[in-house]
């Protein structure tokens, strides 16, 4: 981390570290798919010289060199980026990897956004790193205007349906209100059956419980399950086949939707697509 006095870029990253860069990064490695996606949304491409191993959106990403925090750091060091953008998990769990890179003179910045309300702050800082402040602002503006639009549609809906959001199926876990997915339900005009549920700590995924869920069978009009790394191998059939699920109103009435985790739980513009898709499928608007 450079700490020259006249640096233009100063902010605090999500590890609480004060970051100051003398000039915007020209060569960036992004180790997290959401970062990569957002950087592309701001119009970057050639500046992104490396991405994480599981990043796959937009398609241009697939041509980039991939770096893994589980590999030897020499590849990344040899690529000689100006900055590496990581996320909390990497920084906390792979301190050795991060340290090795920093020791080689490459700053590692930690950004992570799991709550809807943190989105603005996150995008702003991301934009600062690459000197795309204006593009960042535009992105946010676009985001919020579309959200408002969807929300307006949602508010107009009557009667509102009640939904359950499945975060991890096997464990009957749902999400908290302030997460992206939790917020999504409200925005598109659904009542969340789990709205009283509270998180212990900062986690956005919380347990709802099998019996609890089934006991509310009659009240669940809509059942939404996200499909992604946390909730693999699910399909409408597997959910219907779970013991007792045939009782759930949403299942009986065929209101069971599966949505890509990337479209509903991650801090990118595709979130908007997810909202629209769901709203359309559920309410036909």
């Amino acid at each position: 981390v450079q700490t020259t006095g006249d640096s233009e870029i100063r902010f605090i990253d999500d590890s609480g570290v004060e970051i100051s860069l003398s000039e915007p990064a020209k060569k960036v490695v992004s180790l997290y798919s959401a970062h990569t996606e957002n950087l592309f949304s701001m119009g970057l491409d050639s500046e992104i010289i490396g991405v994480g191993t599981s990043d796959n959106y937009p398609e241009a990403v697939l041509e980039k060199e991939q770096f893994s925090y589980k590999d030897d750091p020499e590849l990344l060091i040899a690529a000689d980026p100006d900055v590496v953008i990581a996320r909390t998990m990497i920084v906390e769990r792979y301190p050795d990897y991060v340290k090795a890179i920093e020791d080689a003179g490459i700053p590692v910045i930690n950004l992570y956004c799991s709550k809807f309300d943190d989105f603005d702050n996150y995008i702003t800082r991301l934009a600062m790193i690459v000197g795309k402040d204006a593009e960042g602002e535009a992105l946010l503006e676009n985001f919020h205007s579309q959200i408002d639009e969807i929300q307006k549609k949602g508010e107009g809906i009557d009667p509102r349906k009640t939904a359950y959001f499945e975060s991890i199926g096997d464990k009957f876990k749902t999400v908290t209100q302030d997460s992206f997915a939790g917020k999504a339900l409200t925005i598109i005009g659904l009542n969340n059956i789990a709205q009283d549920i509270e998180s212990d700590g900062s986690a956005t995924v919380v347990e709802f419980g099998e019996e609890n869920l089934l006991s509310k069978s009659n009240e669940i009009d809509v059942y939404i399950a996200q499909e992604g790394t946390m909730n693999k191998l699910i399909s409408v059939e597997t959910i219907e086949a779970r013991p007792g699920f045939s009782q759930i109103k949403a299942v009986i009435e065929g209101e069971l939707y599966i949505i890509d985790e990337k479209l509903i739980s991650s801090a990118t513009l595709r979130y908007l697509d997810g909202l629209k898709e769901l709203q359309n499928k559920i309410y036909g608007v």
Partner: protein
């Protein structure tokens, strides 16, 4: 005599706990719609209680057999790599399903790989010499650790999808379909029945290969049969609900403290105690705790210290 009384108490305890367990849960059934209540009762709680009972006794019984066969207090289904094999099968199915979008049945692969492991172990210990405990154990550890490494390999290939495997491996009894539970129940009953016919032989096997043959045991046949029985018991239990490690290891020890080394007494008691123990642990995690923790975790956290207590009290 004494062991009969203990067993009677265990049976009564098991029935009582079973009835209790099926009537409690996170949701009070009297307060909700009776249709939904019925569903929860029959489709959720009943299979779960049944699963706890049969898986518990399968693990308890197979522990007795394996400790006897291998003549080693360390022995449980891990020792021979059976659990590793089952876990590998399950992880392989999960991985292939995710990577290639197919739908291999996890349970069946788990069972198949348990048998693959034991087949290799038996082959290896034959090649090495006689089918005795030292050879079988050595072969078992090697094969077991290779399959464990296989699991790690799958985990590292699966990258972020690893969560799925980790959860499977941790083992729990929630939401098992009644049909699968019934399969395990039937297998456990058959396995237990076969095992119980051969407990006198198992006692004698511990004298060693030569001594056992001298008194008329068809050593290799009995050894193989019991090994297969133990594997089958473990494989089906593990395939249903992942790895629940502590039961097969500690329950037989506990029983031996009460009724001595005679496996004819240890087996039924171990099956009962295993069932009771697992049911108890599962009921606790299901009802008392705010968030369920994997039942294998709970059995160990409860059983471990309890075992230590007994262990110390017995002095020696």
């Amino acid at each position: 005599m004494k062991s009969k009384w203990i067993n009677l108490i265990l049976i009564i305890g098991l029935i009582g706990l079973g009835l209790f367990a099926i009537n409690v849960g996170k949701v009070n059934l009297t307060e909700i719609d009776s249709e939904i209540g019925k569903t929860i009762f029959y489709k959720i709680r009943f299979p779960r209680v049944l699963a706890a009972i049969f898986v518990g006794s399968a693990l308890g019984s197979s522990g007795v057999i394996l400790q006897g066969l291998l003549q080693n207090p360390l022995a449980d289904s891990y020792t021979l790599g059976i659990s590793s094999g089952a876990a590998f099968g399950a992880c392989l199915a999960i991985y292939v399903n995710i990577a290639f979008g197919v739908a291999l049945p996890i349970q069946i692969l788990a069972i198949v790989f348990s048998y693959v492991v034991i087949a290799i172990v038996m082959w290896l210990s034959r090649v090495k010499g006689t089918l005795d405990s030292a050879n079988v154990i050595l072969a078992g550890i090697i094969i077991g650790s290779i399959f464990s490494a296989g699991i790690s390999l799958l985990k590292s290939l699966a990258d972020e999808d690893v969560v799925e495997m980790v959860y499977w491996l941790m083992g729990n009894l929630a939401s098992k379909p009644i049909e699968k539970v019934c399969v395990v129940a039937v297998i456990t009953a058959i396995g237990y029945f076969i095992a119980s016919r051969y407990m006198e032989e198992l006692n004698i096997l511990t004298l060693g290969r030569e001594e056992a043959k001298s008194v008329g045991i068809a050593y290799d046949f009995v050894y193989r049969l019991l090994l297969l029985t133990a594997v089958t018991l473990t494989a089906f239990a593990v395939s249903l609900c992942g790895i629940i490690g502590f039961v097969g290891l500690v329950v037989p020890h506990l029983c031996r403290i009460f009724v001595g080394a005679d496996n004819r007494k240890v087996l039924p008691m171990s099956a009962l105690l295993g069932a009771l123990f697992l049911l108890l642990a599962d009921t606790i995690t299901r009802t008392v705790l705010q968030h369920e923790i994997p039942v294998g975790v709970l059995t160990t956290m409860v059983g471990g210290p309890f075992f230590i207590y007994i262990f110390i009290m017995k002095k020696r």
